[in-house]
């Protein structure tokens, strides 16, 4: 019997390939015995037992691959080892050159002069330079990156305005241009409503609520959260508003933001007055600007995102009349549901906890809670004049946490992409005996986690188990921001959550209302 070995020095193949080689070799009729192992002492001793330990193999190191065969003839042994070599190489040669990728914006444009939008998501400290580069080449820019300084934002936006270009961002999570979702956005029908929003999830919530009622949008432009600050002056909201006013495909305009700086409100009002197109304005939590808005004939103020969608989509039947009447009817249904659920709670379960991934949704919930609850809600992102949570990692009494705030996302992914943080927080809240209800938002669509409902559903089950172990029951309330056509699918997401025992409402606003009704009165 001839014994031969092949040593592949410092060559690593995955175990599956090694096993396949070993199997192929032992299948060869001419091969008596074969071994494919790393050259460790232990394996050498096994080889020795099998009579496969050659001098070469004996000298192999643990980082070497040893292929040993015994065969009746020299040539059969050689052939087997050659075969082993071929099998090992097979995998390595399957690599092919990919498509050419340009390295710079300039290079990309020289080959693709028709490009019109740059989506920039590189780390913040490089993002400004790339945005300049894109704007100076006449591209509209969606600046997805965070951590761009306010000074840079101001000068980029001023330059963009001079050039007549859009600079959406920084931190613009959501934009829908010509029906194409960029960043975090949903699959939506085209239609008559044009939206400009300084709040990413606000844009998602309103556009998906409209979509569920068959109303499409013409454009959905995200300006970035700081656009309506005094320093930036609402530059992009104003530019986008002008464009929508002139856009034939847009019949109704929607503006969404947290309350803007006063001087910015004035600029926006002036611009709104320049056109007769109806505009629904949702400055969430900004009671002060409400009256000013009402003075302009074509402007309709909305208090919540839900109202905003109802008004913009003209979803209220004529016979019902105004929003208030419509909402009152809906709310009485929620009140009944709350009444039923309350029976499950112990007497000392007082508080609600809202755990949000979308900042605007957290804000909208607080607007509703402020109206219903007698005692204040603490939050790391409170309404103007609201109560700031001293330590965002610990809830106290009624608490709303925006887990997408920077304090949580530095050095970790956003809660819309990674559910880990929320899962842990759900379990943390479940351990608090005074908690009655945990509310959370589930945002789906492009850019979001591929299956948030499964992970969050699992967390809800675990949390409920934990609470039951301590002799109480928790109520979980959620809403899903998304459409049926989204990759995660609205109905699939909803039913997964319901299966886990979550009460899923039709809107964030309804979910917030149900949650509040459980702990009030």
């Amino acid at each position: 019997m001839i014994v031969k070995t092949l040593i592949k020095t410092s060559e690593y193949h995955d175990s599956v390939s090694l096993m396949l080689v070993a199997r192929e070799l032992s299948k060869l009729e001419s091969v008596q015995d074969a071994a494919v192992v790393m050259g460790t002492e232990a394996n050498k001793s096994i080889l020795a037992d099998a009579g496969l330990l050659t001098e070469e193999a004996g000298a192999a190191s643990p980082n070497d691959l040893v292929i040993g065969v015994s065969a009746p003839s020299d040539s059969a042994a050689d052939a087997a080892l050659q075969k082993a070599e071929v099998l090992l190489k097979q995998k390595a040669s399957s690599v092919q050159a990919g498509e050419f990728k340009p390295k710079t914006i300039r290079g990309a444009l020289s080959s693709n002069p028709a490009a019109n939008v740059a989506v920039i998501s590189v780390a913040g400290r490089y993002a400004t330079d790339e945005a300049w580069e894109a704007l100076s080449h006449g591209l509209h820019v969606l600046l997805f990156s965070d951590n761009v300084s306010l000074e840079d934002e101001i000068s980029l936006k001023k330059y963009a305005r001079e050039q007549g270009l859009l600079l959406m961002g920084p931190g613009a999570g959501t934009t829908i241009l010509n029906g194409v979702a960029l960043g975090f956005a949903n699959v939506l029908p085209r239609g008559p409503v044009g939206i400009v929003s300084a709040a990413g999830t606000g844009l998602q919530e309103v556009s998906t609520l409209l979509a569920r009622h068959g109303v499409g949008i013409s454009q959905g432009i995200g300006t970035g959260g700081r656009d309506l600050k005094k320093e930036v002056g609402g530059v992009m909201m104003l530019e986008a508003l002008k464009a929508l006013q002139q856009d034939d495909a847009t019949n109704v305009i929607v503006l969404i933001s947290k309350p803007p700086a006063e001087e910015v409100v004035r600029l926006i009002l002036d611009q709104l007055a320049a056109s007769v197109k109806p505009a629904v304005i949702c400055f969430l939590g900004g009671d002060a600007s409400q009256s000013a808005l009402e003075k302009i004939p074509n402007v309709i103020p909305a208090r919540t995102l839900y109202e905003c969608a109802l008004l913009a989509g003209r979803l209220i039947p004529d016979e019902v009349g105004d929003v208030k009447t419509f909402l009152d009817a809906e709310n009485s249904g929620l009140a009944k549901q709350a009444q039923n659920l309350k029976a499950r709670l112990n007497a000392n379960q007082y508080y609600l906890r809202g755990l949000f991934s979308g900042g605007t949704l957290c804000y909208e919930a607080q607007v509703i809670w402020k109206e219903i609850l007698d005692i204040p809600v603490h939050s790391n992102a409170p309404l103007p004049g609201g109560s700031t949570l001293p330590d965002s990692t610990k809830s106290r009494r009624h608490t709303a946490v925006d887990l997408g705030e920077e304090e949580f996302t530095v050095g970790r992914p956003h809660p819309m992409i990674d559910n880990d943080l929320r899962i842990r927080r759900i379990l943390q809240e479940a351990r608090d005996p005074e908690v009655a209800v945990i509310m959370f938002d589930v945002v789906i669509g492009y850019g979001a986690h591929p299956d948030p409902a499964s992970e969050l559903g699992q967390a809800v089950e675990d949390a409920q188990k934990l609470a039951r172990g301590e002799g109480r029951e928790l109520v979980f309330v959620a809403s899903v921001t998304g459409t049926e056509e989204d990759p995660q699918s609205l109905s699939r997401t909803t039913s997964t959550l319901e299966h886990a025992g979550v009460h899923v409402c039709d809107s964030n606003s309804a979910a917030a209302r149900l949650t509040a009704l459980l702990v009030s009165g």
Binding site: Y12, D14, N43, D49, R412
Partner: protein, 299 residues
């Protein structure tokens, strides 16, 4: 290609570093850090987290096989760039990942937990028999007549187990497992990694146990110079109580007394590593869990 890292294992350095490609696989690439003995591993999104892993948000069909051993890579300000090929990785938004095995309470007195353990033991053995694996958990514990790797491994693990029960640190049976058997990470090494993980789950605050594990861990780290770089890295971290997320998730599921459906999912994920590395590691884990706590090893 510009990719974001999803998670960083506890062993991934914080600051700047330089490294070169040590070994290349389809869904993983090992990096040899210039300043350290252990490896770092870049892993595709489809894989689980690793103590030394940088898991990337890779698109479908991504393969590391365009890279060559020896390719240089530098990391500056949380941006990792390969000099030759075109891959840039942003580390700054990644989640730090670490497992906490000692925090688990493995309590087989709880019928649900005992049932979970037995269930996983059964699916493990079934899987090993079905795939004609060299090592079958059940046979390791019985005095099987099988020769070769399984025979040696069985003898060693039984000795290891009884030494742990006697808190006997003079036992040297770990040595005969190091580098033993087939696979890129030899089976014996995988058994040891899993075994260490099992022990870490049953420390339960007892200092005697903690001391025993750290001594055993040191011995194994010392012995691991006798196996290859990749295997050594896993052993090193297992000695610190750090294992892959798939293994950690499985043992957490057992400790929670999960239902069979969920356990089956967790077990399948843990098995699906390498060819037999997954099942070998789980074998070590389940045996380790019974070192100081009475578990009915089925006859």
């Amino acid at each position: 290609m510009y990719l974001r890292a999803i998670s960083l294992g506890y062993a991934v350095p914080d600051g700047n570093f330089e490294a070169e490609a040590h070994s290349v696989f389809q869904s993983a690439l090992n990096l040899h850090l210039n300043s350290e003995d252990n490896l770092l591993t870049l892993i595709a999104s489809s894989e689980g987290d690793l103590p030394q892993g940088i898991r990337l948000d890779t698109p479908e069909g991504f393969s590391f096989e365009n890279f060559r051993v020896g390719d240089l890579m530098i990391c500056r300000d949380e941006i990792l760039v390969f000099e030759k090929d075109s891959l840039t990785i942003q580390l700054s938004e990644a989640r730090r990942w670490k497992c906490d095995l000692p925090a688990l309470r493995f309590d087989p007195a709880d019928p649900a937990v005992a049932a979970a353990w037995s269930f996983v033991w059964e699916v493990l053995n079934a899987r090993q028999r079905l795939s004609e694996a060299e090592i079958v958990a059940q046979e390791l514990l019985g005095k099987s007549a099988r020769e070769g790797v399984a025979h040696r491994a069985g003898k060693a693990i039984r000795t290891l187990l009884s030494a742990a029960r006697r808190y006997d640190l003079t036992d040297s049976s770990a040595q005969s497992l190091i580098g033993l058997g087939s696979g890129l990470t030899p089976s014996g090494d995988d058994l040891l990694s899993g075994y260490l993980a099992g022990l870490w789950c049953i420390v339960q605050g007892e200092s005697k146990r903690a001391q025993f594990i750290s001594s055993l861990g040191e011995t194994i780290i010392h012995l691991s110079s006798k196996t290859n770089d990749i295997s050594r890295t896993y052993l090193y971290h297992a000695a610190q109580g750090q294992v892959s997320s798939r293994l950690a998730d499985l043992v957490e599921g057992i400790c929670r007394g999960e239902n069979p459906k969920r356990l089956n999912e967790l077990a399948e994920a843990a098995f699906d590593v390498g060819h037999t590395s997954g099942t070998d590691t789980v074998t070590g884990l389940l045996i380790g869990l019974g070192a100081w706590i009475r578990v009915e090893f089925p006859e």
